[in-house]
């Protein structure tokens, strides 16, 4: 428990440093480059109490978290399968690299057509981004699995499901964790950007409007909201994985 508190305190220190850098940037460069943190927080507070934040957040939250969950699950499943079946892996790897590397402008119209401008286009964009990130980590994780343990499981006669639960999943957590952290951060960013670009509603739509109004503090207030939500999601979704890894890792012996 004290370790957890200490970890949290260090994390807050890091975020405080970031806030300080922001303040210094504002002081040096003026409000047309970086609005002040104080003003931004004030605006954010206003967004929350006037009830503007709620509905926008609901839309974007569904896009970001829904897109993340779909993309992460598909990516992990595909990555594990591809890792276990060499030809499938060799076939899919370049396809997913392309998927990751094609700029969204290539299929923004396609997404608009398929999902409609107010529909699931942002969630689709999020999934498309998350899927290959998670795929590639799961794929590599499977390749890097401990073959001796797999042999043991085979000799013992464990079913694929039992093996997955007892040996593969614990081994996958380590490579998956950073990929999921990356993917989660991208979910919010990409979801918001897709809303900005797609003329959608949600936080991205709000940001687009504030930007059209050249209202920098307003823009930053929404971004701050996004970042806060991202940190909350990171805490809720990934913290259990981190804890498992911290406690189950063969630590250097006590004493």
């Amino acid at each position: 428990m004290p370790m957890v508190v200490a970890r949290g305190a260090w994390g807050l220190l890091g975020l405080a440093g970031l806030g300080l850098a922001w303040q210094l940037g504002h002081d040096a460069l003026g409000p047309f480059v970086l609005p002040s943190p104080a003003e931004t927080v004030e605006r954010l507070w206003a967004l929350i109490v006037t009830g503007q934040a709620g509905p926008a957040l609901a839309v974007t939250g569904v896009n970001a978290i829904g897109g993340f969950l779909v993309g992460a699950l598909l990516g992990a499943a595909l990555g594990v399968t591809a890792g276990l079946l060499t030809p499938l892996g060799a076939t899919l790897r370049p396809v997913l690299t392309v998927m990751l590397g094609v700029p969204p402008i290539a299929w923004v119209v396609l997404a608009l057509l398929w999902f409609g401008p107010r529909g699931l286009a942002p969630a689709f964009t999020v999934s498309i981004t998350v899927l290959p990130i998670v795929f590639s980590a799961a794929f590599q994780g499977i390749l890097a699995r401990d073959q001796k343990l797999s042999e043991m499981a085979r000799v013992v006669g464990a079913s694929p499901l039992l093996s997955f639960r007892m040996l593969l999943l614990p081994q996958l957590l380590d490579p998956l964790l950073p990929a999921l952290a990356t993917a989660l951060a991208f979910s919010w960013k990409v979801g918001v950007m897709a809303e900005v670009l797609g003329g959608g509603t949600g936080i991205g739509g709000m940001i687009a409007t504030e930007r059209a109004h050249l209202d920098l503090a307003g823009t930053m207030a929404w971004i701050l909201l996004v970042v806060a939500l991202l940190l909350v999601c990171d805490g809720l979704l990934l913290a259990p994985m981190r804890r498992f890894l911290r406690t189950r890792r063969p630590a250097p012996a006590a004493g």
Binding site: L29, V33, G116, G198, G199, T209, A212
Partner: protein
């Protein structure tokens, strides 16, 4: 005062910018700002970066942008209007003949909550139409996507600016489909706000540039009308210049010239119409202008 060194002119990606490009090209700024360069901006971020850094203190822009920035504390001045509006409703639907016909129709808009959208809404309001209820309005980010959807037959009606409107019509033609400009928003505007034109884009300067070099202001005043006359007279030459300096398709540019409503009108002289325009925006969305009308010093004379 000394001539201004290394001035970077930022031009809005709007065809009317060609007038300022012509002035620069014809040497009209050579004495006041030797070595001045020209570049298009695609995003207000670039504009802000240019203005804050002091690299770009002469710009062409939609007229609500400098008003907004001035109200938020950046000392910008509007010199003149270059475009009297370039928005139209382009459609493949024969049933649409007037603004009122849009009622109940699906329409694609762009730049949601930004100026083109606000102009459309201001007119709709005067027409007695609630765009969010009476029109099936959806949005894409840029006019290019709207044009693309029109040309591909994936949307029947869209609000478009120039030159994307012209480009969409030409592309559809190649595919054997007919698109037409059903409504000029300028004319619709005229029915409700006085004049059948909208002072939509112009030339603006940072005050420090005026202070540092009154000569530039003088050169602009002297040169812009002639540049406009050249553009309107030598359409082929203007199109070639647009291709060279603004990466625009000459054929499209030439055909869209008729719909650009290029002019050079002093801001001071246009103050009344500008304020009508600004008020219409303020009515709908005060934040889009920083909450108020710009004060009198904002409008320069030629």
């Amino acid at each position: 005062s000394r001539p201004v060194e290394s001035l970077e002119i930022l031009g809005a990606p709007n065809a009317a910018t060609i007038v300022l490009v012509r002035l620069l090209e014809a040497g009209g700024l050579d004495t006041a700002a030797p070595g001045a360069t020209f570049r298009l901006w695609r995003d207000t971020d670039e504009l802000r970066a240019g203005l804050v850094s002091g690299r770009s203190r002469l710009i062409t822009t939609p007229t609500h942008v400098p008003a907004n920035l001035a109200n938020r504390g950046m000392p910008l001045r509007l010199l003149c209007i270059l475009s009297m509006g370039h928005l139209s409703i382009v459609t493949a639907d024969d049933g649409i003949r007037s603004f009122a016909d849009l009622r109940g129709k699906p329409v694609v808009g762009f730049f949601r909550n930004d100026m083109p959208d606000l102009v459309f809404r201001a007119i709709a309001k005067r027409e007695g139409i609630d765009p969010d209820r009476d029109i099936a309005l959806t949005y894409v980010q840029t006019p290019m996507e709207a044009a693309q959807m029109l040309a591909a037959g994936r949307a029947a009606t869209a609000i478009l600016s120039e030159p994307p409107a012209t480009a969409a019509i030409m592309m559809a033609q190649q595919q054997g489909r007919t698109l037409r400009r059903a409504v000029s928003l300028q004319e619709a505007w005229g029915r409700h706000f006085g004049q059948p034109r909208i002072p939509m884009a112009g030339v603006a300067l940072h005050r420090s540039l005026i202070d540092d070099s009154p000569e530039i202001l003088a050169a602009l005043r002297a040169g812009l009308p002639g540049a406009r006359d050249w553009v309107l007279a030598d359409r082929k030459g203007a199109a070639a210049l647009a291709e060279q300096r603004m990466q625009m398709r000459p054929a499209v540019f030439e055909r869209s010239l008729d719909h650009l409503h290029i002019d050079v009108a002093p801001a001071r002289a246009m103050k009344g119409e500008l304020e009508t325009f600004y008020k219409a925006i303020l009515d709908l969305s005060p934040d889009a202008l920083g909450g108020r009308l710009p004060d009198g010093a904002f409008y320069l004379d030629m």
